[in-house]
């Protein structure tokens, strides 16, 4: 008998090889994808996110899997780049046939990947903050554990008002959330009697922001709102210091990383405020993330991806079927229903197997979502830089 293999199926087969080789039990495993920023601007977070997702999947598999099937996780690097993210999503969805993708980080990547997900009825769990993401026509196929820009900027403005900022100037990297973030900040500042005197959106790939800083300082601000990623924040901090600015500076914690603080002299970074959605530090799930990473203060994104994997596993167990549609239809039933509160996904799986209802609260907080997939509320951590280290001011 002559067996013919078309070029297309040979290609699909060869693309699928890494999956088969990695998982070893592709036949009945539930395929799950992760797209993380292992390199690029988000490279400080991607590796630990991937580690947490892999550890939780391994634990679920060790304890019997979901519906008696193991989960096969494939982690892809998006290089914090939308083009690469889309390639990764194509591979995961078209070849890997994953039921869900977890852990997209940069808003630009999530925005690019989302249409592929909802068109193929693959659930997308993201940690990106841009408001525009959940406004996409996603038919319920996006769940976001990160508070949106509206919620975040409102809290940021509240902090600045509390610290008597009167004239705030924004320097924002060109991102999908730059405009929303500034307009919300300005709105809340105005209500509190302060002014958002101007905002410049810059191209973060530049090597110098001298002109932008000159323009900003010409407006005589008392506070700079630096809506940046880590590489451009480093340049902005150095150049605003060089330009003689002595006022207040406020940024996002994902930009003010330890590495950025170590790369600059203490005199340049001292007094820099930053904030981040805070994980639920009292949750047993948070302690599980601490144990996986072997550190006392895991970042919010690693906590959120833990919840992504947990929500996928629990929704599949609740539905009795492993598919994107099943997760879509059941994710709120296991996260915000009247059932028994659980923070351990494995315990949740056992309760579901016994026919009980559950309500999963995770490492990132209570996983309660609006109809368009936004998180309802969460706590925020505010910190200040002292001698090249972030010091916690308060969590509220």
């Amino acid at each position: 008998m002559r067996v013919t293999v078309s070029r297309r199926s040979a290609l699909a087969g060869s693309l699928a090889l890494p999956f088969l080789a990695r998982t070893g039990f592709a036949a009945n495993a539930i395929p799950l994808g992760a797209i993380n920023p292992l390199t690029g601007a988000g490279g400080a977070y991607g590796p630990s996110m991937a580690k947490v997702a892999e550890a939780l999947v391994a634990r679920i598999n060790r304890t019997g899997g979901v519906l008696g099937r193991p989960i096969a996780l494939d982690v892809e690097d998006d290089q914090t780049n939308p083009t690469v993210g889309v390639e990764a999503a194509h591979k995961l969805i078209d070849v890997g046939k994953v039921v869900a993708i977890v852990g997209t980080w940069a808003s630009a990547v999530t925005t690019a990947v989302a249409p592929l997900c909802w068109q193929s009825r693959t659930m997308l769990f993201t940690v990106s903050g841009a408001d525009s993401i959940t406004r996409l026509p996603h038919h319920g196929y996006i769940i976001r554990t990160q508070p949106n820009t509206h919620l975040q900027s409102g809290r940021a403005a509240g902090f600045l008002l509390q610290h008597e900022s009167k004239r705030v100037f924004g320097l924002s990297a060109q991102t999908p959330f730059a405009v929303d973030s500034w307009s919300r900040l300005k709105e809340v500042l105005a209500k509190g009697g302060a002014t958002g005197i101007g905002d410049i959106i810059y191209d973060p790939k530049q090597t110098s922001f001298r002109s932008e800083i000159d323009k900003a300082l010409a407006a005589k601000p008392d506070t700079l709102f630096l809506n940046s990623y880590a590489p451009d924040l480093e340049i902005l901090l150095r150049e605003t210091y060089q330009a003689g600015f002595n006022g207040k500076r406020f940024t996002f914690a994902y930009a003010a990383t330890d590495a950025v603080l170590k790369a600059l002299p203490a005199g340049v970074t001292n007094g820099l405020w930053s904030f981040a959605p805070s994980p639920d530090v009292t949750s047993p799930a948070y302690k599980a993330v601490q144990a996986i990473l072997g550190i006392s203060d895991p970042d919010p994104y690693s906590c959120q991806i833990y919840d992504h994997v947990a929500l996928v596993a629990l929704a599949i167990a609740k539905a009795g079927v492993a598919s994107g549609v099943a997760i879509h239809d059941n994710v709120r039933k296991i996260s915000q229903g009247p059932g028994q509160k659980v923070s351990d996904p494995v315990a949740g799986l056992k309760l579901l197997a016994a026919g009980k209802e559950i309500n999963y609260d995770g490492a990132s907080g209570p996983c309660h979502f609006t109809p368009i997939g936004d998180i309802l509320n969460c706590k925020f951590l505010f910190q200040v830089v002292e001698n090249q280290h972030n010091k916690t001011l308060f969590i509220s």
């Binding site: 690029g40 090597t207 110098s208 001298r210 002109s211 590489p231 340049i235 060089q242 003689g244 170590k262």
Partner: protein, 288 residues
């Protein structure tokens, strides 16, 4: 308005002087080997990391660290060229150029593998700007510009007065004729690579001093380096310097009329205009 204009010119000139070194290196290699070596970005990053190891880990002062950046960029560049690009050159400039793009990605990831993704900082102080009325000038930038000018002067002196410099110019003018006169093209290729890519190493360290040191340090300026080289005239040594200043000042001046977000686009518009009137660049393709 005049102050804003002057400030933009100063910012642009300082940015241009830092860009000039890697552009000079790029054109030196092009002049002798006749292909655009896009691995200059990766080699600039290697130079920047070599400078960091020398300065932050071993405690060397800045001038010695800059020398380390030159040696690392030149040595890594010449070895990579011999291993990866030399075999491609007989297939044409396009094959070698594409090979250099691939080599660039390999080098960038090698750096990432060795040093990780996190940004690093040199053990050097950050100074406040000097103020001259409404104009601010950064001491660090002035120092960078001075180093760049010194290195450029050294290159011109080397090309004008030394045997190997003259041999490089001869090969660049007419390789066949130079070989018939007994100039060894292999030796000249090594010299061009060590010199050109060593300059990229220094350029990479200067860029990193001004911005941030991470595996993408060189890649972020690759397009501007290429643009500077093309504007000045591909393969022209003084052209690289002129091109770098045109790109630097052009980009900064554009911020006076359009939002800074479009700065890079305006820089390239300036390039389009220059090339419309002078298709071979400002100073043509003659090396020197």
């Amino acid at each position: 308005m005049i102050a804003a204009f002057l400030q933009a010119v100063v910012n642009g000139a300082l940015a241009g002087s830092v860009l000039a070194l890697p552009a000079l290196g790029f054109n030196t290699v092009y002049a002798v080997l006749r292909f655009p070596n896009f691995a200059v970005a990766g080699l600039a990053t290697i130079g920047a990391y070599a400078g960091w190891v020398a300065n932050a880990l071993w405690g060397w002062p800045a001038p010695a660290a800059i020398l380390a950046a030159f040696v690392a960029g030149g040595a890594a560049g010449a070895l990579c060229d011999a291993a990866a690009l030399k075999p491609l050159r007989p297939l044409g400039a396009l094959a070698a150029a594409i090979g250099s793009v691939a080599l660039n990605i390999v080098l960038e990831n090698a750096v990432r593998f060795a040093f990780g993704n996190n940004p690093r900082g040199y053990d050097l102080p950050v100074f406040r700007d000097w103020r001259f009325g409404a104009i601010g000038i950064g001491p660090q930038e002035v120092e960078d510009a001075a180093i760049a000018l010194l290195a450029m002067a050294a290159v011109f002196l080397l090309l004008r007065t030394t045997r190997i410099g003259k041999a490089m110019r001869a090969v660049s003018d007419n390789a066949t004729l130079a070989e018939s006169k007994g100039i060894d093209p292999v030796r000249v290729a090594w010299a061009a690579n060590i010199l050109g890519l060593g300059l990229c190493g220094i350029g990479g360290m200067l860029v990193a001093l001004d911005t941030s040191l991470d595996p993408l340090t060189g890649f972020r300026v690759l397009l501007s380096i290429f643009a500077a080289a093309v504007v000045g005239g591909l393969g022209s040594i003084p052209g690289a310097v002129a091109g770098a200043f045109v790109v630097g000042i052009g980009e900064e001046l554009s911020t006076l009329v359009v939002a800074p977000t479009y700065r890079t686009a305006m820089g390239f518009l300036a390039i389009l205009i220059v090339l419309s009137f002078r298709p071979r660049g400002l100073l043509g393709e003659r090396a020197y």
